[in-house]
């Protein structure tokens, strides 16, 4: 199958016709295109599946005889400068393209149902396939300029997708923020990491499948991909490697702490994404390339699962609390959903467990690897990473418990005097049943993703356990590119060490889960007592200090670590101030000079007109004055 490599330039172009056709159709024949509606989803998914099969084929080839293919065309023909276009196929590319296409297909299937009542159904699909195109282009690109090009295109797609519901002002702000941050990220070379993460939670303004696609699975993964691609460059400079791991660890901690107090389910998940990305960066910075990519893949599937499940929850909540995202995504209103959406609950639970790092699920293997590698790198980082793993388990279970356990909190709100009529609660049960039936189709990708999650460790991690490091598929795939790095990490993991580490990390995760249960109980019971505030009062004076601590952490987390505030004060205000200043300068000084010249010449003209006003007496006076001056001067000169 040699030809597969030759034709692999086609990968990014296969999904491209769909957005072009839909775009042209919407512009030129809107009604006809809109009538076809659901028909468009099919070719969309079909083309993406073709790409998936193709990239599967490629990666099988890579496993059999891993080799790198590169092909280059020249783009501009000129004597002095030439830009080249081409494709570059190696194991990293094939893995990434499988990841993108599989997640993409599931998200497409899911969103066919999810978006079916939305006005912008077609627009949504056009954006999605454009996004997939540019992602595939990004992973197959062969030089930095091409990476930049597709990077910007990905940024544009995310701009469009986040701003999909353009009538919402929050979406409008969020998409602009995402684009600008992405632009800044171009020059700094990475984003969604510590200083530039601010767009990620705001980006949740888009439809939920988008959150799953972009912000969990692919787009943020692209950033990791970029660093991974450039790693051979960075590795020669230890400074940069240290910097990367430092940024990674800050992101890990920040994301985890910020995720603690999010009320919005999607934002909570977004911060958890950020924290997990931090793990990947940390791994890359430590030089354990393979662990980073492994975690990237496992996390992508788990997070996509979680997001799709949360989308399902949000859709069912919308029927009860209304269509405002502040309500339907608010976890305070959720609770006890286990009874109503059991399938979603199972899926969400699996995702949560996987993300917490509970053994048979995917993320356990990858996270464990990163954690054990971190001991080698630096103990301080390792301690932070380990404790954050516990924190991850805590907040993920916190989210899970708030959502699915207990009783539906909207219910209680009614008693506590907020304005929600009992009408809702009646409506709730009937609607829910319908919803579940309706959602069966939507749940299909969820289930598949769940299966994926379970399979992953057996295909990749499972082999690892059985045959040791050298033979597992991933490392085999990645061998050519990580020759430099992996000999030091290889010898380390014998099975004893592995078990030791594994038990430790699982126990930490369990500790986190346990804490979540512990903390959840009083909250739950207090809700049962229909008095939220009472519970804080009842605790007595001893716990005031603890409460203060909790409050402090909560406050920090709730305000997004004050980083957004800092940005809005320093950057936005700064730029606005600069704009005002330059505008003022432009108006008053530069233009002022021009207008001043105009006005002066006007006055000069007027005065000349006044002087030359053809009055004889004035001329005579002037004449006499000059004669007088002349006489005086001649008098002085003569005598």
């Amino acid at each position: 199958m040699e030809h597969a490599d030759q034709y692999s330039w086609i990968i990014p172009f296969v999904p491209l016709p769909i957005p072009i056709l839909i775009g042209m159709g919407l512009l030129l024949f809107p009604t006809a295109t809109k009538n076809l509606r659901r028909m468009w989803a099919f070719p969309n998914i079909l083309l993406l599946s073709i790409v998936m099969i193709f990239s599967l084929d490629l990666s099988i080839q890579q496993i059999n005889g891993s080799s790198i293919y590169q092909y280059v065309w020249s783009w501009t023909i000129n004597n002095d400068f030439s830009f080249e276009f081409g494709y570059f196929i190696d194991s990293l590319t094939s893995i990434m393209s499988i990841l993108i296409t599989t997640v993409g297909i599931f998200v497409l299937i899911y969103s066919d149902n999810y978006m079916s009542h939305d006005e912008g159904y077609l627009r949504f699909f056009a954006y999605m396939s454009l996004f997939n195109t540019s992602m595939l282009g990004l992973v197959t690109s062969c030089n930095l300029i091409q990476i930049y090009i597709f990077w910007e295109l990905v940024g544009m797609c995310s701009y469009l997708l986040i701003g999909f519901w353009f009538t919402r002002p929050a979406a409008a702000n969020a998409c602009q923020k995402a684009f600008v941050t992405n632009r800044i990220g171009d020059f700094v070379a990475k984003s969604a990491q510590f200083p530039l993460h601010v767009w990620l939670p705001d980006a949740m303004e888009g439809p939920t499948p988008i959150s799953a696609l972009i912000h969990a699975a692919t787009m943020v993964a692209a950033k990791i991909f970029l660093v991974a691609r450039l790693l051979p460059l960075f590795i020669v400079i230890p400074y940069i490697m240290n910097l990367i791991s430092l940024i990674g660890i800050i992101t890990v901690l920040l994301g985890a702490t910020l995720a603690l107090a999010q009320n919005d389910i999607k934002k909570g998940l977004a911060y958890s994404t950020m924290s997990q990305l931090g793990y990947m960066m940390l791994a890359l910075g430590m030089g354990s390339y393979r662990a980073a990519l492994f975690h990237l893949i496992t996390h992508a599937y788990s997070k996509a699962l979680l997001f799709l499940a949360s989308g399902s929850i949000i859709h069912s909540m919308e029927a009860i609390v209304g269509y405002s995202p502040e309500k339907s995504q608010n976890m305070v209103f959720m609770g006890g959903l286990r009874k109503h959406v059991p399938v979603t609950q199972i899926a969400f639970l699996v995702g949560t467990l996987s993300l917490c790092g509970i053994p048979p699920l995917a993320c356990f293997w990858s996270k464990d690897e990163i954690l054990s590698d971190s001991w080698l790198y630096s103990p301080i980082f390792a301690i932070i990473a380990w404790s954050t793993a516990g924190l991850t388990a805590f907040y993920m279970f916190w989210i899970y418990l708030l959502t699915f356990e207990g009783h539906l909190n909207v219910h209680f709100q009614k008693y506590s005097g907020k304005k929600s009529s009992s009408f809702y609660s009646i409506k709730l049960w009937g609607k829910e049943e319908q919803k579940i039936i309706n959602r069966n189709f939507r749940l299909f990708p969820l289930l598949t993703l769940t299966m994926n999650n379970n399979e992953q460790p057996y295909t990749i991690g499972g082999k690892k356990e059985a045959q040791g490091m050298h033979l597992d598929i991933l490392s085999k795939l990645l061998t050519p590119s990580i020759n430099l790095l992996h000999q030091n990490s290889n010898d380390f993991e014998d099975s004893y060490q592995f078990f030791k580490n594994a038990t430790f990390s699982v126990s930490i995760a369990c500790f986190g889960i346990f804490t979540a249960f512990l903390l959840y109980k009083p909250f739950y019971s207090s809700v049962q007592n229909l008095n939220l505030l009472n519970s804080f009062v009842k605790r007595g004076p001893k716990r005031i200090l603890l409460d203060k601590m909790i409050y402090l952490i909560y406050d920090w987390s709730y305000n997004r670590g004050y980083i957004d505030m800092f940005y809005s004060i320093s950057l936005t205000k700064g730029i606005r101030g600069l704009a005002e200043l330059t505008h003022f300068f432009d108006r008053r000084v530069i233009d002022g000079i021009t207008n001043g010249v105009g006005i002066t010449s006007f006055f000069v003209g007027e005065s000349v007109k006044y002087l030359g006003g053809s009055r004889i007496s004035f001329y005579l006076l002037l004449y006499l004055v000059y004669v007088f001056i002349f006489l005086v001067i001649s008098y002085f000169i003569l005598f």
Partner: protein, 505 residues
């Protein structure tokens, strides 16, 4: 007749220059049968002209030849050797084609103009002639005459059609440009009369002439001021936002699409080609001014409330890239500058066009009054988003390629040291971050959000295929150049090498 058409002596360029204005003067003899006849007549003339230009350039212009082609040389005024001398080369062919394209679309866009439409269309055609004339003249004095000639229709277009403060802005425009023209005239006469007893005004002869450095610098400054007003280069730019803010939008299209490019064209044609020594002295300053312009104007643009003024400032900011490209004195940079001339011609014109069409519907001038227009005018919203993406240099669009090539021009330039290069690149990068801020916030303020309009539906007149056609036909070249920039680079490549030959040997 057969002989005439097969040889190259057929006066293609003279016909191309004279056709619009002479056909336009026939407008006054057309019967008074309403505006429709006038509009169709003008559009037919424009299309004929474009086709003629395209035909002449297709069959009588060879891309691999850096010399002047389609040359014409007639003695006009005997006693001081003034010739009617036309000719095109790789540098001027792009702007001429751009002129034809944009003017045709602007005429199509001027469909809603009803007041004095006879005069309006005549002025459009006169401007067409003037612009092609100045791009194709090979004689310094002829260049000056064409340059001045083209101001008159612009002035009239500005002062008769447009917003409330149009007289103020038209006066400002004419004073600014006339002031610049004084320096141009000084430069032209100085260059022409230097050295010999007989005035030499031919570009070719002038290009081989050398001057004392001090004199060359003086000439250079004179020309620079003239072109800086037109381009515009800071701090001589303030006529532009006022003019664009008040003008009718088809005038705006012409102003942004073509008129600004005349300044940049003049910089390359005269300052670079005729005065190479002074240019290599001045080029660092040009680059500094260019980078300052990108930042300064981009941040000024953020402070604008008026939509058209904001777009106007954005075009001034993009002119900064042209100046940097010209100042870099590299093959790459100059090619980038020429590409940016063409690319911004399309993008700037398209943005003004879309601003105009949305103004037709909303009747709102200030950005903070707008909002939520995406629901009512989705197609304009789509096109506006695409073209503001093009304006902020999204890959795949022409603006990106141009800016990228200018970037490379600066980086590969051997004239400058590493540190200044890094600094300039850094500042340009800041400019490229500011660009999405202002252009995306523009589209956010216009279209995003939600707002109930109780405007009567009569505002939604003139909608439909005409505007869609115009915006798509601008969009196609933008994306075409973005994907395959050799379209333009192959036109200018040879000529650029010839120009830069003077600098290295």
């Amino acid at each position: 007749v057969y002989l005439v058409f097969t040889t190259n002596y057929f006066p293609w360029l003279t016909i191309i220059v004279f056709l619009p204005i002479s056909a336009g003067s026939l407008l006054f003899f057309l019967p008074h049968k309403g505006n429709k006849l006038i509009k169709w007549y003008t559009i037919c003339i424009c299309i004929l002209e474009v086709l003629l230009t395209a035909y002449a350039f297709c069959y009588h212009f060879r891309l691999d030849d850096p010399l002047i082609q389609l040359e014409e040389d007639y003695k006009w005024i005997n006693f001081f050797d003034f010739y009617w001398r036309l000719g095109i080369d790789g540098l001027s062919i792009g702007p001429i084609l751009l002129t034809g394209f944009i003017t045709t679309l602007a005429t199509l866009e001027a469909w809603p103009v009803t007041r004095d439409s006879r005069l309006f269309h005549f002025l459009m055609l006169a401007m067409y002639s003037g612009q092609i004339g100045s791009f194709s003249s090979r004689d310094l004095l002829l260049f000056f005459i064409m340059w001045e000639f083209e101001l008159i229709p612009v002035y009239l277009l500005l002062s008769m059609w447009g917003g409330k403060k149009r007289l103020y802005s038209a006066t400002k425009f004419i004073l600014y440009t006339a002031g610049g023209s004084v320096f141009l005239l000084i430069g032209v006469l100085g260059l022409g009369l230097y050295g010999s007893n007989e005035p030499t005004l031919n570009f070719e002869t002038l290009a081989n002439q050398s001057y004392p450095v001090a004199l060359e610098i003086i000439f250079y400054i004179g020309f620079l001021i003239a072109f800086a007003v037109k381009s515009p280069i800071i701090p001589l730019h303030t006529w532009l936002p006022d003019t664009h803010g008040e003008a009718h939008y088809s005038t705006c299209m012409l102003l942004a699409g073509i008129l600004l490019k005349m300044g940049a064209y003049g910089l390359v044609r005269i300052n670079m080609e005729l005065l190479p020594h002074a240019h290599s002295i001045f080029s660092p300053w040009l680059i500094i001014v260019g980078t300052m312009q990108i930042i300064y104007v981009a941040s000024t643009s953020l402070g604008q409330r008026n939509l058209k003024k904001r777009i106007a400032y954005s075009s001034v900011s993009h002119m900064g890239f042209i100046i940097i490209g010209i100042g870099s004195i590299t093959d790459t940079g100059l090619n980038g500058a020429i590409l940016q001339i063409i690319s911004h011609g399309f993008i700037g014109a398209a943005l003004f066009f879309l601003a105009g069409t949305s103004y037709d519907r909303m009747r709102l001038v200030y950005l903070d009054e707008m909002g939520g227009m995406a629901v009512s005018i989705p197609k304009i919203f789509t096109m506006f988003s695409i073209l503001s993406m093009a304006s902020l240099a999204l890959p795949g669009m022409s603006g990106f390629v141009a800016e990228l090539i200018v970037f490379f021009g600066i980086i590969t330039s051997q004239k400058y040291f590493l540190m200044p290069k890094i600094l300039i690149t850094f500042v340009m990068a800041i400019g490229m971050i500011l660009t999405p801020i202002y252009s995306l916030s523009m589209s956010r303020q216009m279209f995003y959000g939600y707002k109930l309009f109780n405007a009567p539906s009569s505002y939604f007149f003139y909608s439909g295929p005409r505007e869609l056609f115009v915006s798509i036909s601008i969009f196609l070249p933008v994306i075409g150049i973005g994907i395959y920039p050799d379209f333009i680079l192959s036109l200018s490549g040879e000529k650029v090498e010839t120009i830069l030959y003077n600098y290295f040997y």
